[in-house]
């Protein structure tokens, strides 16, 4: 566990410094019951789903409107206090890790579904609404909200926007960014602004979604609703090993079939799932594929015939097809419980998140296997095989001296493998605080400078979720335009570097 940020230098909410002044202002803006300063209650917000990093927030506030958030952010600017937004706290990269010298803005009181317009297939919701609540509100009328992170019962749509969350069905339907039509945001300097995909001008919505809280806070989100498909077909295919399963994935995609989901689990992940939820996957499988097809009935039937044939041709020794919703749930149960299940076979583990081109999967899996042997560390593989998004689970015993460090090293070397194969250090969990240090392995200084240009334009004082995404909190005066002397203020002799 790492206590990432030190205690507030000004003595916290009761001290003499800026945090105390901000606390008083927040009480004026929000009323006293929406401002948390009690150390025990503050402690409950010390981490998100990535519990490795912890910090007790200096102050927690529970606003109920965009106007309140804007007022808090303007006060943060006035007093120079950093702010971090948090939805349900299910993120897996520490993106909502609080700061002990800052305020944590929690959106749990902003849970209203503001409007549903089925004719234009849109819903407008507040950021604290859970992902699943949107589907529940429209399911009876034949619609659903497509992105489905494993945490969808509790995770908030605001957090999904911040992290551009994915899920098993993102292979066919895309990520959060593909299902958000517009956002009202509070900018890092406290303005309320609309970003709309269909507007003229820049599509800043694309840059905002997935910016992990560094470009502002979403306060109202317009999501696209999808029509419930006529038919769904879920099948489980058991293979002797991950290589043959991988070949089946390539054959399916290569044939032009785009399943709603293709998930793969290796032997160790299957073992963990069996131990935890007795999912009853075929004994002796070295890998299983869960393939889900959806769409018009006629198309699903045709695709199913192709998928079955391609699985068998590539070595599947058993195929099961769900005949109803219960059987479908049974097939998914093993996959959906895989992360938590690993706790049954290992005292501790790290969930990694990386991406490789689909065609590089076999080579990368073999290399992970080699790493596992080299370090004597078990790695269970669970992944969204269709889009090359790996979730290796690096298992270790936290009682064992040095095991955590070795596991972290294996985990980091897996990311190096992803980069070397032309992939990415995150597929859907985000960079957060956890992977900021890997950004330099993936990007050139010029690439990072270009991103920082935007960050500095929105947030010149570095107050909006500082310490996340970027490896070095560059002073905005150091942005490339200024460094090279082309910034007009510098050129006109009206500014110097500092």
């Amino acid at each position: 566990m790492s206590e990432t940020f030190v205690a507030a230098p000004d003595g916290g909410p009761d001290g003499p410094g800026p945090l105390a002044r901000l606390t008083a202002r927040c009480r004026e803006i929000l009323g006293p019951d929406a401002v948390i300063t009690d150390p025990v209650r503050l402690r409950t917000y010390e981490c998100d789903g990535l519990t490795y990093h912890r910090a007790t927030p200096g102050l927690v506030v529970l606003p109920e409107s965009a106007e309140q958030i804007a007022a808090i952010v303007r006060a943060c600017n006035e007093y120079g206090v950093p702010f971090v937004a948090r939805g349900s706290g299910t993120g897996l990269s520490g993106g909502a890790l609080p700061r002990s010298d800052g305020v944590l803005i929690v959106t749990s009181r902003m849970r209203r579904i503001l409007s549903i317009d089925l004719a234009s297939r849109r819903a407008v919701v507040e950021p604290g609404v859970t992902n699943l609540a949107i589907t529940e509100a429209v399911r009876d009328r034949g619609f659903y909200y497509a992105p489905d992170p494993s945490s969808q019962q509790v995770c908030s749509i605001g957090g999904n926007v911040a992290e551009n969350s994915g899920g098993a069905h993102c292979l066919k339907y895309g990520f959060t960014v593909n299902h958000v039509e517009a956002c009202e945001i509070v900018t890092p300097d406290g303005d309320i602004v609309e970003l709309d995909r269909m507007d003229a001008g820049y599509d800043l919505l694309g840059a905002f979604v997935g910016s992990e809280g560094t470009l502002g806070i979403a306060t109202k989100i317009t999501v696209r609703l999808s029509v419930t498909p006529e038919a769904v077909c879920t099948l489980l295919a058991a293979f002797p090993d991950v290589e043959s399963g991988g070949r089946a994935v390539s054959a399916i995609i290569g044939a032009g079939v785009v399943p709603a989901a293709i998930e793969m689990m290796d032997a160790l992940a299957i073992e963990a799932a069996e131990a935890a939820v007795a999912c009853g996957y075929p004994p002796g499988a070295g890998a299983v594929l869960v393939v889900e097809l959806d769409g018009p009935l006629a198309a699903v039937e045709q695709e199913y015939a192709q998928v079955e044939r391609l699985c068998r041709e590539n070595g599947a020794f058993e195929l099961r097809v769900a005949k109803d919703a219960d059987e479908r749930a049974a097939i998914w149960k093993g996959r959906k419980s895989a992360f938590a299940a690993v706790g049954r076979i290992s005292p501790a583990y790290i969930v990694q998140d990386g991406v490789v081109p689909r065609t590089a999967l076999p080579g990368v899996l073999a290399a992970i296997d080699e790493l596992s042997r080299e370090y004597g560390i078990r790695v269970a593989n669970v992944f969204h095989a269709g889009d090359g998004n790996l979730h290796p689970l690096v298992l270790f015993d936290d009682e064992e001296e040095g095991a955590g460090e070795r596991a972290a090293e294996v985990s980091g070397r897996i990311l190096d493998l992803c980069i070397r194969h032309g992939g990415s250090i995150t597929g859907e969990h985000g960079v957060g605080v956890d992977k900021a240090r890997y950004m330099t392995r993936m990007f050139s200084d010029q690439d990072l400078d270009t991103m920082q240009l935007v960050r500095c334009a929105f947030d010149p004082r570095n107050l909006s979720n500082p310490g996340k995404v970027f490896p070095t909190p560059r002073l905005c005066g150091e942005a490339p335009g200024v460094r090279k002397g082309v910034h007009p203020l510098v050129e006109a002799g009206k500014a110097e570097l500092f």
Copy 2:
């Protein structure tokens, strides 16, 4: 016709000023035959597809690589000369309108397809490659590039990226932004940077695509290739009027069918198409719908039965289905020639481009009809009905005193209608120089400030396609952060406003 920019103040490429120095430098960078200064040859670049705005460029260069473009852009920064990029010049909003005090960077010598990787369904191309050339390179192997602007035989992929171009099939398959996976760009200060959708960090690709040349120049584009659908079904349905056609569109989308395209033409557009290409649409039609379905054969059959029923239920009096590629081409011929065909029934016309929510279509069409009567100006309607993207053609006689002005007024009032109904001033043609003045009708000052923040971050000297998109060329020192005194340079007393 409007000569938008005045002659170069320094006497042009042969004068004593910055343009002359840039010309000399460009000859060093590119060699003499890639630098055009002859006034007659310069004149051929005076406008893009929107011929209403014209300006002879100060200088035209024909680079062959990203490095050459970066060198030219750095020279522009050194001498303070604005630059405009141009692909094939088919844009319809004046986005590639040159500046007489600047250089036009034409990508017509960058026409190489650099790589095709069918396993990962990607192609990497230079910006001057035409849209259709990508499809032609992969068609035999069962793939195609999905976005299909009407100009696809000649328009360049670099221009498509700049304008986020659409086309008839964007209803189902999305716009250019949905089919571009990565771009190498030259930033406005001359760096070469990679933007990749799947990378960690900000998705700046989303903001870059559609930024109309104001955030830099794409020099290498990675596009997604799509699998040719197994079956395509094209049908033409004739309705007594646009209202009944519009109801059929709503019924089809409401039933959960997403056709590849649904195009509508009204009586005047049909009359023009008949006059020009004798497309043989059903006589007496007040409106026709062209509906194209594609996908697996079984699904297409099922959807066809639904579409046919819904068209008939909503008043279609004749339905034709294409039996082969020739008949398909015949159905599309009328629609694809509609813009040009209008020349047969009117000496001059303005092509408008606006968007309304699909559900607002009937009300907006009725209001356009009223405007048409009020001004005594004929308006032919051609539109991508499925996504509410209107292309009203405002007809006038340019020999008639004041007719052009009245047509421009009608055209502007149509945009007001779109905004009032919650739509946008452009669906796929961009803002360019033509619609910059409408931006303030659609956006608040704060919204525009937020976009300008990004523009100023990338292009603090306002050299990259200046005068486009934004209504007022704001000095970057006036960006909101600075105005409010929160910029660190200002706060530290190291910069003043100027």
